[in-house]
């Protein structure tokens, strides 16, 4: 098993305040998502480390959808994945962002 590392950056998001958050577990078919505040000039940077190779295009699509849903900026998202399906990834990302924002209130 080798790991594939993927990086995405989305510009033009709304700077979003919050407290560093981690949700999910790096278990089979699951993933952990960490959201941290970061001064990125309004950008959202996402780093994915996944055990499943060759799914770059799928990740790209899932992340693009995520950014379209939330348009969050000035945050860094780090993902450790153990073969989660796209639907699970989307739900975890939503959960992570909600928790991040909720804690920041």
């Amino acid at each position: 098993m080798t790991i594939e590392n993927l990086k995405y950056r989305f510009d033009g998001g709304k700077p979003t305040q919050g407290v560093t958050t981690i949700v999910g577990v790096l278990g089979s078919g699951n993933l952990e998502v960490m959201v941290e505040p970061a001064a990125l000039g309004g950008a959202c940077e996402i780093e994915v480390s996944t055990a499943a190779q060759g799914f770059g295009k799928t990740w790209q699509a899932v992340m693009k959808d995520f950014f379209a849903r939330h348009r969050v900026g000035d945050i860094r998202i780090s993902v450790n994945d153990a073969g989660a399906t796209p639907a699970i990834v989307s739900l975890r990302l939503d959960q992570a962002i909600e928790t991040y924002k909720g804690k920041g209130k």
């Binding site: 790991i3 560093t20 960490m34 480390s49 450790n80």
Partner: protein, 295 residues
């Protein structure tokens, strides 16, 4: 609403057991203290190496805590994971909290880390004993899906007290390991009733290996933890001699038993099969006078 300990992950367990907002994490996920061994093997590594550690309070009492995440590699102990638990215990020797709480959920050594993992587990055992020697009670909680097995099963028994739920399992070799080594005729790991009457919470309670058995809710675990802390930690020479005597008697009394049910019968249960169906309160009441230790 009472929340299930069994269904929660490590972080939710800490949040559920400690006073609200009292938890301060040491080496949190964002510190990214991850396993160097898994990186070498090109395996995904969790940000916290599968264990959450820190400080908080229960009913205002200062508590140090470590919670293993069973969902990550079965809670297996790697070098970093083990060092984090050891760090909590060594800090307890220095700072004297009211107790150290170990929420164990683990298959034991992380085999990918080989000797580093083995050494880590033995260091955890030594650190538990150091904390107890310094007068800090170490309370182990076992109530997760993956149980507590391997070297960490031994580590658990080095603690001051163990609290389990019926769903919890405690042992050395896990069911699959026994089946693989000795054959399915010896032990069928898929026979859940057999597994639970060998390593499950009720059996461990009856043979005196866990000190309290509770229903699967955060409140019940919390209450049992408070009681264990209040009871303190007796490991005087007298207490150790008594423990050894109990173990000697156990071998004599149950040495020829083939099944958990034989042991229960020997303990005076007229209808051992009924034990599995009892709810927790009913079971604890019925167990009075029918376990190797007094209640």
């Amino acid at each position: 609403m009472s929340r299930s300990y069994y269904e929660s992950n490590a972080r939710a367990r800490i949040a559920g057991l400690l006073d609200a907002n009292s938890f301060h994490e040491w080496l949190p996920a964002e510190a990214r203290v991850t396993s160097p061994h898994l990186a070498t093997l090109e395996q995904p590594a969790a940000f916290d190496d599968g264990v959450v550690i820190g400080q908080g309070s229960i009913a205002g009492k200062n508590i140090f805590i470590a919670a293993q995440e069973g969902g990550f590699m079965g809670g297996a102990v790697g070098e970093v994971h083990g060092a984090k638990i050891v760090g909590v215990l060594e800090r307890a020797v220095r700072d004297h909290p009211a107790a150290v709480l170990l929420l164990l959920e683990t298959g034991g050594v992380r085999l990918q880390e080989a000797n580093a993992g083995l050494i880590a587990v033995s260091e955890v055992m030594r650190a538990i004993l150091s904390a107890r020697a310094a007068g800090v009670p170490v309370v182990v909680v076992i109530g997760g899906q993956y149980g507590c097995f391997g070297g960490m099963g031994i580590a658990a028994r080095c603690a001051s007290a163990i609290i389990m739920s019926e769903e919890g399992r405690l042992g050395l070799s896990g069911p699959e390991v026994i089946e693989t080594a000795r054959g399915v005729e010896e032990y069928d790991a898929r026979d859940r009733a057999l597994v639970w009457r060998t390593v499950g919470g009720k059996h461990r309670y009856l043979i005196g290996e866990c000190d309290a058995i509770v229903p699967d809710s955060m409140e019940a675990f919390q209450q049992a933890i408070m009681t264990c802390i209040e009871n303190g930690d007796d490991w005087s020479l007298e207490a150790l001699k008594q423990e050894h005597q109990l173990l000697n008697e156990r071998v004599k009394r149950f040495g020829t038993c083939k099944d958990g049910r034989d042991i229960w019968r020997e303990l005076g249960w007229a209808d051992p099969i009924s034990i599995a169906m009892m709810d927790n309160d009913e079971f604890v009441k019925a167990a009075q006078g029918h376990r190797t230790k007094n209640n």
